[in-house]
């Protein structure tokens, strides 16, 4: 990757082609942004707001949002969003009309954000006033339109941390009410009680959960460490005292019922033989507990993070339970999942449009992240101040504090912007992630509700902190989930079968 550069574009005849080329290249998603500064003799603070507007922030909020009204925070917010959106190239139109202090600010921004900066001068020469400023910064000058077009070409996008995972299925607006039964009966009850169309809608989500459960477990080191490479096949593992006829019956029963080659543990369970698992490493016998609770919490919350319907969330969770069970894992979740609180059940699905709205209406990165975290957690987080900068994962894929929860891909830039903004404000890794305009107390539930309303959203019902007997995050369903190894896997742990769970 090329190091960030400063390029002065001389549009000597003020040809509209240069301007149109820069404006047409503006695509935040492709990493290219064009700033079109407001005309008039405006100060550098206005240029920072032009930057925020170019980043897609609401113009009214940019001038009124608390925490970034002053010039310095506005520039830092601009840099933070630029980094969070992975913008690589920034073009500034009509730069020849900007004064020396504007150029100094832009060069400082270029250094902070690590972007290529194209300064368009629609004039014969670089303004004399800024020559001294430019002398201190390595730069090149071009007046070649073809070269400018090349510079504004989007770079190939770098894949995100989990872009190779299958996209979750869309959830229909009118999703049926799913059975309130446990995993063992869920799918059968859905088949019995729902119409064909409704069942199919539910089953799409169920199978997605099943696949996701298999995939997550298959690549988890704890699982790989605890299981043999291949499933143990039944024939040679059937209890020795069974007659050949009984063995054949047991095998046929398992095959017909489950459509799989049964493992020893299933056979023994079906025949109520109750054999102990042979000692293997540190795990002598079934059942024993899954240790990576935080990982499990992140998986479960990620599974339903984009679900706009709690009913669909329930279907996915039941599917995940089934998927894990195929691997000999028993996942226990709160009994009445539908009335529980937490990700996918309460709050809002952090989809691309929802996150765009948050980013647009809340230009202060801290405010945007506070709302996104509250919605992702799905429970009141009265104590948002407990979150540290280090609580956010490297790619903002999860937040780990008093329990962990996933951040959907669309919401990650919001958290990355907040983290960068706080770092640019001089905060250390152990420093607070979310500090409101008046300190941590600025992030009160009332403010969050107001912010959510500005974005056309609503936050989970807030409970006053003093009246809440438990630390707030513990209320979320996925933090109560527990998992045990209970049996050998019924199929290979490495690669989940793409057709697994599909009804013929």
């Amino acid at each position: 990757m090329r190091p960030p550069r400063v390029i002065v574009v001389l549009d000597r005849h003020d040809d509209t082609a240069f301007t149109q080329c820069a404006l047409a290249a503006h695509r935040i998603g492709a990493g290219i942004m064009t700033i079109h500064p407001s005309p008039g003799r405006l100060g550098t603070a206005h240029l920072a707001r032009d930057l925020l507007v170019a980043l897609g922030k609401d113009a009214e909020q940019v001038t009124d949002a608390s925490g970034i009204k002053a010039e310095e925070p506005a520039w830092r917010a601009g840099a933070a969003w630029t980094i969070a959106y992975r913008i690589r190239t920034v073009a500034v139109l009509r730069a020849h009309l900007l004064r020396q202090e504007h150029w100094e600010r832009l060069l400082a921004f270029q250094y902070t954000a690590g972007v290529h900066l194209l300064l368009f001068c629609h004039s014969q020469d670089v303004p004399l006033e800024v020559n001294r400023t430019l002398a201190g910064a390595p730069h090149t000058i071009t007046d070649d339109l073809a070269h400018v077009i090349e510079l504004l070409r989007p770079a190939p996008s770098e894949p995100g941390p989990d872009e190779d995972e299958p996209a979750p299925p869309a959830v229909p607006a009118s999703f049926p009410i799913v059975p309130r039964t446990a995993v063992t009966r869920f799918r059968a009850d859905a088949w019995r009680r729902l119409s064909t169309g409704e069942y199919e809608a539910v089953d799409v989500q169920y199978r997605y959960g099943l696949q996701a459960g298999c995939a997550w477990l298959a690549r988890h080191p704890e699982y790989q460490d605890a299981t043999p490479d291949e499933p143990v096949l039944a024939p040679e593992l059937l209890p020795r005292y069974l007659s050949p006829r009984e063995s054949a019956q047991a095998h046929a029963y398992a095959s017909d019922t489950y459509g799989i080659t049964p493992s020893r543990s299933v056979i023994t369970a079906l025949l109520c033989v109750g054999r102990e698992r042979p000692a293997r490493g540190r795990y002598p016998r079934y059942p024993y507990a899954w240790r990576d609770e935080a990982g499990l919490q992140v998986f479960l919350s990620a599974l339903v993070a984009d679900c706009p319907s709690p009913e669909a969330s329930c279907a996915r969770v039941r599917g995940a339970q089934a998927g894990l069970l195929l691997h000999g894992m028993l996942l226990a979740v709160p009994r009445d999942l539908r009335t529980a609180k937490g990700p996918g059940l309460t709050g809002a699905a952090l989809t691309e449009p929802v996150c765009s709205r948050i980013g647009e209406h809340l230009p202060n990165p801290v405010t945007a992240a506070a709302l996104a975290i509250t919605l992702a957690a799905g429970v009141p987080l009265a104590d948002l101040g407990v979150l540290r900068i280090a609580s956010v994962g490297a790619h903002a894929e999860a937040v780990r504090a008093n329990g962990a929860f996933a951040i959907p891909p669309a919401a990650r830039p919001l958290l990355i912007a907040a983290r960068t903004f706080r770092r640019l404000n001089g905060a250390r890794e152990e420093g607070r992630l979310l500090v409101g305009p008046r300190g941590a107390e600025g992030l009160v539930p009332a403010t969050l509700e107001e912010d959510a309303r500005a974005c056309g959203l609503s936050v989970p019902e807030q409970t006053p902190y003093s009246e809440n007997p438990f630390p707030p995050p513990l209320a979320a369903w996925h933090l109560k989930a527990r998992c045990w190894f209970v049996a050998d896997p019924l199929h290979g742990p490495r690669q989940p079968d793409p057709d697994l769970g599909r009804v013929a």
Binding site: D14, D15, Q20, S38, A59, V62, T63, R94
Partner: protein, 251 residues
């Protein structure tokens, strides 16, 4: 309709729009300008019918979407913002911050295609041109701009490099020649319909000088004189009386 229907100088009753060559050229060029959403500049001395031609052409071409922008001399960016805010009928009060104001205007200008006629463009400052260019350049806005100006309008606009690459068409208005006057004036107002050609030529030669605005002023005085005297025909005596009123001198 967004354009006021008082095109003629002194709101002269009975006056008709005459299809001169310049008028027809304006109409044709404007049709092209609107099609490509471009900028156009119409320039020439005062009173030659530039604004009237542009406005009446737009009344045919884009009756609902045309707006005439008139400024006091040397308008600032804020003047233009406020004028556009009023013209576009944006319900909300004008925002205090320029950036918010600009975003609001751009949003309104991206809703539907509009044509703006900037009259007296020779008074526009570089800052004002910058502002029009700022709005027009935006990829979301849908607008055409027609700069109309007298005197040194051409020099002012031609000195702005930003306009030279953006103005799609230039049109200069010149005073009518004698033959054009003889062809156009009888159609301009009923009082000249039956007038002697020598009289028309005499008026143009001595007072109107191929200028529609002067012709409008003279016509209004003629109408008043006819009404006052209870006459129906334009006579040389009446014209001499008119000349005395407008301080023209008969040869």
């Amino acid at each position: 309709m967004s354009l006021p229907n008082d095109d003629h100088y002194l709101k002269l009753k009975g006056a008709c729009i005459v299809g001169t060559e310049a008028f027809e050229e304006t109409q044709d060029t404007l049709a092209d300008v609107l099609e490509v959403q471009a900028m156009m500049c119409v320039f020439g001395d005062a009173g030659l019918g530039k604004t009237l031609s542009v406005v009446s052409s737009l009344r045919n071409l884009a009756p609902e979407n045309s707006f005439r922008v008139q400024y006091r001399s040397r308008p600032t960016t804020l003047d233009i913002r406020n004028e556009l805010h009023a013209l576009l009928g944006i319900g909300a009060p004008p925002p205090r911050h320029p950036i918010h104001f600009d975003a609001l205007l751009k949003r309104a200008l991206s809703e539907t295609f509009r044509v703006f006629v900037c009259d007296e463009a020779q008074w526009l400052t570089r800052e004002a041109f910058e502002y029009w260019r700022f709005l027009w350049d935006d990829v979301r806005t849908e607008m055409a701009v027609v700069f109309v100006g007298g005197g040194n309008c051409y020099d002012v606009l031609n000195n702005e490099p930003m306009l030279s690459s953006r103005v799609y068409a230039w049109q200069e208005y010149r005073m009518l020649t004698s033959s054009q006057v003889l062809k156009a004036i009888p159609d301009f107002h009923p009082v000249w319909k039956e007038a002697d050609k020598d009289d028309i030529h005499w008026v143009d030669d001595n007072a109107a000088h191929g200028n529609f605005r002067r012709w409008a002023k003279i016509t209004r005085h003629v109408c008043q004189g006819l009404e006052r005297n209870g006459e129906t025909e334009v006579t040389r005596k009446l014209l001499q009386w008119v000349f005395s009123r407008i301080a023209g001198r008969a040869k």
